[in-house]
């Protein structure tokens, strides 16, 4: 009988010990976070860490490298192809973002009106975004083809405005702007739909109040729409800048960085040097060189956003 009682007490003790452990909040938090942490460590932190490490070595495919400090970065500093790719990336990101936002905002404002077939139009707008990038790249490849380009056909054969077909992808500047145009086309839906969602949260009564206060259409846009849209605009801008800055697919599928390396972005150059070129260390160094730009872009919009949040009311009833 005493043994049974002891066993019962022991059982109760172990039960209480486990219960207490699981009631201990830090332990529970740790247990619940473990799967996510594991995935992040294996698939995010490890590759990122490895990439950063590789950037400081002279690793090539098939040969483990040695730590060489900043040598990769020093040689890149004097590499005209790399410098061109940095300028290309900045130009590509800058012009494409401005284009995407101008057209996307315009489209969002249009779609925010009462239009016939509104939901169908909204669905259609999304098409460029849901089509696989490579597929749209191939389509643009055709559109920009020196011989079969539909743009050239229309300009030369239909309208007769030009005598010769345009060589879109054969010369550096036309190739750069052709790629920017393709990127804008792809990026508009994301901007337009996100901003449309933002526009729809603005109470119509505010526009009516502004109308009674004597604001014309431009003033209503300037003093009501734009400030109210600022928070979402900042978020969408950040995402758009990040996506455009790190773009790879479109450029690699259409021009592969050519002609004569004039359209390489940092991402495509990193891949080109690292994988087909075999210089893993150098490729990694190019990729790592993107990080400061991305951090700056994120911080910029983070602070812009934080300021707006203070101004913005949660609700107005």
């Amino acid at each position: 009988m005493t043994i049974a009682a002891e066993a019962r007490a022991g059982h109760q003790f172990s039960h209480g010990w486990l219960t207490r452990l699981f009631d201990y909040k830090p332990f529970l938090v740790f247990i619940c976070l473990l799967p996510a942490l594991g995935l992040l460590l294996v698939f995010l932190s490890y590759p990122l860490g490895l990439g950063v490490w590789l950037a400081f070595t002279d690793t090539r495919i098939g040969r483990a490298g040695y730590f060489i400090g900043f040598e990769n970065f020093q040689s890149l500093w004097h590499d005209p192809v790399f410098i061109t790719s940095v300028w290309n990336t900045l130009l590509y990101t800058g012009v494409a973002t401005v284009g995407k936002f101008a057209l996307g905002l315009w489209l969002a404002l249009l779609l925010n009106n009462h239009l016939p077939f509104k939901s169908l139009l909204r669905a259609l707008i999304l098409v460029p975004w849901i089509v696989p990038t490579v597929l749209s790249a191939i389509a643009f490849w055709w559109i920009y083809d020196p011989q079969f380009s539909i743009i050239s056909y229309i300009l030369v054969d239909v309208l007769g405005w030009r005598d010769t077909y345009i060589d879109f992808l054969g010369a550096p500047w036309p190739a750069r702007f052709s790629l920017i145009a393709a990127n804008i086309w792809r990026g508009i839906p994301f901007v337009a739909i996100s901003l449309l969602a933002g526009l729809q949260t603005i109470s119509p009564a505010l526009y009516e109040a502004a109308m009674l206060d004597g604001a014309n259409a431009w003033q209503r846009f300037r003093h009501v729409t734009l400030p109210m849209l600022m928070p979402i605009l900042a978020v969408v801008l950040t995402f758009s800048v990040l996506f455009t800055f790190t773009d790879f697919q479109l450029v690699y599928a259409i021009t592969r960085g050519g002609p004569i390396n004039s359209t390489h972005l940092m991402a495509t150059l990193a891949f080109q040097r690292g994988i087909p070129g075999g210089q893993l260390g150098e490729g990694a160094a190019i990729a790592v060189a993107m990080i400061p730009f991305l951090v700056m872009a994120t911080l910029f919009s983070y602070f812009a956003l934080a300021r707006r949040k203070w101004q913005q009311g949660e609700d107005n009833d």
């Binding site: 502004a210 009674l212 206060d213 004597g214 400030p227 101004q311 009311g313 009833d317």
Partner: protein
């Protein structure tokens, strides 16, 4: 300040007509309340005065000018919205100054008018706050301040108190009324709350299904409702309405009870009608009609009693305290000088 004339105004959305020819004359400086149940067209009418809705037919004049095709900003009106519609990204001062800034008024004049409006409404200490940092009543005041700063010909209020709690509503009611007495600006005010209408208006316009049922001073409407709708809508608790027939010796209800009634046209005898008696016009009288007590609600100053008489429930308000228990009988009689008779078919007053 200006008068407002609404002449045979109609509104249709496609083939659905929502306002069927409304005529209202609003004098300079008058406080007019449009009241009616949801969907009666009162807000639509107000928005047509503001210029936020097109006018399908008829004419609206503000002062001497027909404003049918005048854009809202040129009508010289100010509106207070139900949800206040304050610009959330502007401070209280900027909200109030916005219209003047758009007009490029000199800064000194803007400051002067804003601070004057702020002092009228007690907003001096809140001028640097954002709308989300204000309580409901303060937002309401800012919305009014924004209207005052404009110094418009007409104030329009679209259910401005419906987002406030009961106590604040009573307080704001007084404030709005006081403001009107001070500024004497012509005001059109929309509400579904007949108590707001009764307490604030110089003139009430009762609307129902896109037409004006009756128009007049609050007590006129209360004492002489033109039809059954107005009789039932105005007054709280609402008027007791009994169906039956007018007889030479009184009013016979469907339950067979004969109610004494006051003077009525003799040619109306044997006519199917509705008898209306306000709760406070029923009195205790030992020689009155027997009625069974259903519910007693003592309120202190008065007692509200629901009684059943001839199979029909009636609400009575007595100044006396009632000792009867539910289930017991009391005897009541109406004050025959203030009973109302309505035609059963048309609902019109007899």
């Amino acid at each position: 300040m200006a008068s407002v004339q609404i002449a045979d105004v109609r509104k249709a959305y496609g083939s659905t007509q929502v306002i069927h020819g409304v005529d209202i004359d609003i004098d300079d400086g008058e406080f007019v309340i449009l009241v009616g149940p949801s969907g009666c067209g009162k807000s639509t009418l107000l928005r047509m005065i503001a210029g936020l809705e097109n006018i399908t037919g008829g004419e609206i004049r503000i002062g001497p000018r027909v404003v049918n095709d005048v854009p809202p900003k040129e009508r010289d009106i100010a509106m207070v919205f139900q949800n206040y519609a304050l610009y959330p990204h502007m401070t209280v001062a900027d909200n109030m100054a916005f219209s003047m800034k758009l007009r490029k008024a000199p800064k000194a004049e803007i400051d002067e008018r804003v601070s004057k409006a702020a002092s009228i409404l007690g907003l001096e200490k809140l001028l640097d706050r954002y709308p989300r940092q204000l309580s409901g009543g303060q937002r309401q005041r800012v919305a009014m301040g924004r209207a005052i700063v404009r110094n418009p010909q007409v104030f329009l209020f679209d259910e401005p108190l419906s987002n406030l709690d009961a106590k604040l509503r009573v307080q704001m009611r007084t404030e709005i009324k006081e403001l009107h007495q001070r500024l004497k600006t012509t005001t059109v005010y929309v509400t579904h709350d007949q108590i707001e209408a009764m307490t604030m208006a110089d003139k009430i316009v009762v609307m129902h299904d896109g037409i004006v049922e009756q128009m007049g001073a609050p007590l006129d409407l209360y004492d002489n409702p033109a039809n059954l709708f107005v009789a039932a809508f105005i007054g709280s608790p609402s008027m007791n309405l009994l169906k039956g027939t007018i007889r030479a010796n009184g009013f016979e209800t469907e339950g067979g009870v004969i109610w004494p009634i006051g003077k009525h046209p003799t040619d109306s005898n044997d006519r199917a009608a509705v008898l209306g008696i306000r709760p406070e016009h029923l009195m205790l009288d030992p020689n009155g009609l027997p009625a069974e007590v259903v519910v007693i609600e003592p309120m202190g100053s008065e007692t509200q009693v629901v009684v059943r008489c001839g199979g029909q429930d009636l609400t009575c308000i007595f100044r006396e305290r009632i000792t009867a228990k539910p289930g017991e009988n009391i005897h009541i009689r109406p004050d025959t000088s203030v009973t109302h008779l309505f035609d059963a078919a048309t609902g019109k007053r007899i």
